[in-house]
């Protein structure tokens, strides 16, 4: 008997008569935002992003290119990487910053050496201050947003949903997803990790530009 069959046999034996009973799942939890939270979703998103120790700015569509350039100057970025399909307009105001598109594919050493990365996102969640990347348009592959020390993420207001249930409805499970809520942190690592040790692995600084009309 293979281990597969052995494990499945053990499961069936263990469950006995209980096997195949389907307990009803009570779904009385909130699926949408309610009350004052629902009134201004982009504002709530901005607040929660800031609570996640990320920088956030609200900009108009016509100010986006200036805001992107200003953020990169603020970081003193000289060399950045971007997904191959990032709209050219987003980078139109760059001066003195070299943007390298991920086509042909940039090798990992060059990614790690870049000062920053600019991307869009697939969905953003107001209640948790989260941006979700799915490798779709304006986002590129996962390594792009992982190795550079600084991640500038552009979020369109209509991409922001209120809650986690709403986000999952919009997302495609077959794509590789990365949910980002703040910069890399180490306080989850237990007593052995020193408090305040940030950015050991992922980007040390996350900045979010919320584009509203």
């Amino acid at each position: 008997m293979s281990s597969r069959d052995e494990v499945l046999r053990r499961v069936r034996d263990a469950l006995g008569g209980a096997r195949g009973t389907h307990p009803a799942v009570p779904r009385g939890y909130a699926r949408r935002l309610a009350g004052t939270d629902a009134a201004d979703v982009p504002a709530l998103f901005g607040e929660r992003v800031a609570e996640n120790r990320a920088a956030v700015r609200h900009v108009g569509a016509d100010e986006l290119a200036t805001a992107v350039a200003a953020a990169l100057w603020g970081r003193e970025a000289k060399q950045i990487v971007v997904p191959a399909d990032l709209p050219f307009g987003w980078l139109a105001e760059l001066d003195g910053v070299r943007a390298m598109a991920d086509r042909p594919v940039i090798d990992v050493d060059a990614l790690a050496a870049a000062d920053g990365v600019v991307t869009g996102c697939a969905v953003a969640i107001a209640r948790t201050g989260t941006v979700v990347l799915d490798g779709g348009p304006t986002q590129g592959r996962r390594a792009l947003t992982l190795l550079p020390a600084y991640h500038l993420c552009v979020v369109q207001a209509e991409q922001i949903v209120g809650t986690v249930p709403e986000a999952l409805e919009r997302l495609d499970p077959s794509r590789p997803l990365t949910w980002i809520s703040g910069p890399s942190a180490a306080h989850g690592a237990g007593a052995a990790a020193p408090a305040g040790a940030e950015g050991v692995h992922g980007p040390r600084h996350l900045e979010v530009l919320v584009v509203e009309d």
Partner: protein, 466 residues
């Protein structure tokens, strides 16, 4: 002067010795004052962090839903596992089944060997610690690179080099300096790594998707940079549908840190061309989980989503730390999970259900409503039951049998009372007994016993009638 005899083996067991029982291991931990103050500080910090975030208004509804989702997954586990296997395979992954720890170690070692890699990067994972994977890979000649900052700082000087504290330009405790040194060193490891080993928090049966929550980003590195990804997960990590994540991705972050979301949540389904590993293996592990599943009360422990909220509120764990609980899981959840996975034949596991005051704080915070005290009491019964038919009975059983024999006959009972009273009064000083003889002395290790009155109630009663 004659040579002193070699000192008796201390609490640390040799490679063949059985692990010590909880109380013995805890005594070592309790004697370590630095450890105790560290644990107290960590627990206080965790509680403070948590209390900085408000509880969601629908928290109780989320807990009820989470409990039901995990129950649904467990009661139909065979069907969900087969569905998961189909979905992962269709998405380009390979599923392996391991009945026990040894088989899981063999599978992973074999996969690493087949890849030709001489080293693997590994992210923090309870299940790989449970099966002793790092040791097995090291014995097979594969260098295992731990990538969690906690592990890294906990094992300074590994691979024969100076510790990170020393390499960071002299001994330093500055977090920023340590973090920078760790970042540089870990980068080298990741950029050259060809194989990664991770765990997973959830396995979605419907879609074949794995989900991993973390705060550092080393998990993302493992999932993204190497050519081959090997994920090891217990079979109880299965959840039925993608939509079920809408509950679990709220429960787990809030219960583990208080924050509404963990910094990084990654999900992947098989392999994606042009993004991440070219080869993906999922190792599904039983290793005693089906034994827990067979216990109608104990199976609740398999609902655990690994948030560690019960550790942060446990008065026992706050004093002993993780070591006395053994390698599977620490804290209240370990006290109910480990004895079920490993059996209660050995003293180490049998002592775990007793390592609790039954205060119930753990059950109050559990996001999937595991009634830990109920399971603890149930397992205490199982431990006693399992020892009832041993050829050499336990001292407790001998005592209880003796009491039953004495108390089943009025004359024997009266005679025993008279004798007992006399002895007890002889041992008492100032109305208190400070030390009982033999095994009974364990009772008086921590407390005094009041001396019995000069005459028993029976003696007084029969004297009055006359």
């Amino acid at each position: 002067m004659t040579a002193a005899p070699p000192p008796p083996a201390s609490g640390a067991p040799g490679p063949v010795a059985a692990p010590p029982k909880f109380a013995a291991a805890a005594r070592v931990a309790l004697a370590d004052t630095a450890l105790r103050s560290g644990l107290r500080g960590a627990a206080a910090a965790a509680r403070e962090r948590r209390s900085a975030f408000p509880e969601p208004a629908d928290w109780e509804d989320l807990r009820e839903a989470g409990r039901a989702i995990k129950d649904e997954a467990l009661l139909n586990l065979d069907a969900h596992l087969e569905e998961l296997e189909r979905a992962v395979t269709e998405a380009g992954g390979t599923v392996h089944w391991a009945a026990g720890a040894a088989e899981a170690r063999r599978i992973v070692t074999g996969l690493v060997r087949a890849s030709g890699a001489a080293e693997v990067v590994k992210s923090t994972s309870a299940v790989t610690r449970e099966i002793g994977l790092a040791g097995a890979l090291a014995r097979a000649g594969v260098a295992v690179r731990e990538t969690g900052l906690g592990e890294l700082l906990a094992q300074p000087g590994e691979d024969g080099q100076a510790s990170y504290r020393d390499r960071a330009g002299g001994p330093s405790d500055d977090p920023a300096v340590l973090a920078e040194a760790a970042r540089l060193r870990l980068r080298e490891r990741f950029l050259g790594a060809r194989v990664a080993v991770t765990g997973a928090n959830f396995l979605v049966a419907e879609t074949g998707t794995l989900v991993l929550l973390e705060s550092e980003g080393n998990g993302r590195m493992c999932l993204t940079l190497p050519d081959t990804l090997i994920s090891v997960a217990g079979i109880e990590k299965v959840v039925p549908t993608w939509a079920d994540l809408e509950v679990l991705l709220q429960l787990l972050p809030h219960s583990s840190s208080g924050a509404p979301m963990t910094p990084y949540v990654s999900s992947w389904t098989g392999v994606t061309p042009g993004d991440g590993p070219r080869e993906f293996h999922l190792v599904l592990l039983d290793n005693g989980r089906t034994k827990a599943l067979a216990d109608e009360v104990g199976r609740a422990a398999l609902r655990c989503i690994g948030c560690s909220a019960c550790l942060d509120v446990c008065p026992v764990y706050e004093r002993t730390g993780p070591a006395p609980y053994g390698p599977v899981r620490a804290g209240p959840i370990g006290a109910i999970l480990t004895p079920q996975l490993r059996g209660v034949e050995r003293a180490a596991e049998a002592s775990l259900p007793f390592a609790s005051t039954l205060c119930g704080a753990c059950a109050d915070v559990c996001p999937v409503k595991i009634d830990i005290p109920e399971v603890l009491v149930h397992l205490r019964g199982r431990v006693v039951e399992s020892r009832r038919h041993r050829p050499v009975p336990t001292p407790e059983l001998v005592l209880m049998r003796g009491l039953a024999w004495t108390m089943s006959d009025p004359r024997r009972y009266e005679a025993a009372l008279r004798r007992g009273t006399r002895w007890a009064r002889l041992m008492s000083r100032g109305g208190r007994i400070r030390r009982l003889p033999g095994l009974l002395g364990k009772w008086t290790d921590a407390r005094d016993l009041p001396a019995p009155p000069p005459a028993t109630f029976r003696a007084w009663w029969s004297g009055r009638r006359r």
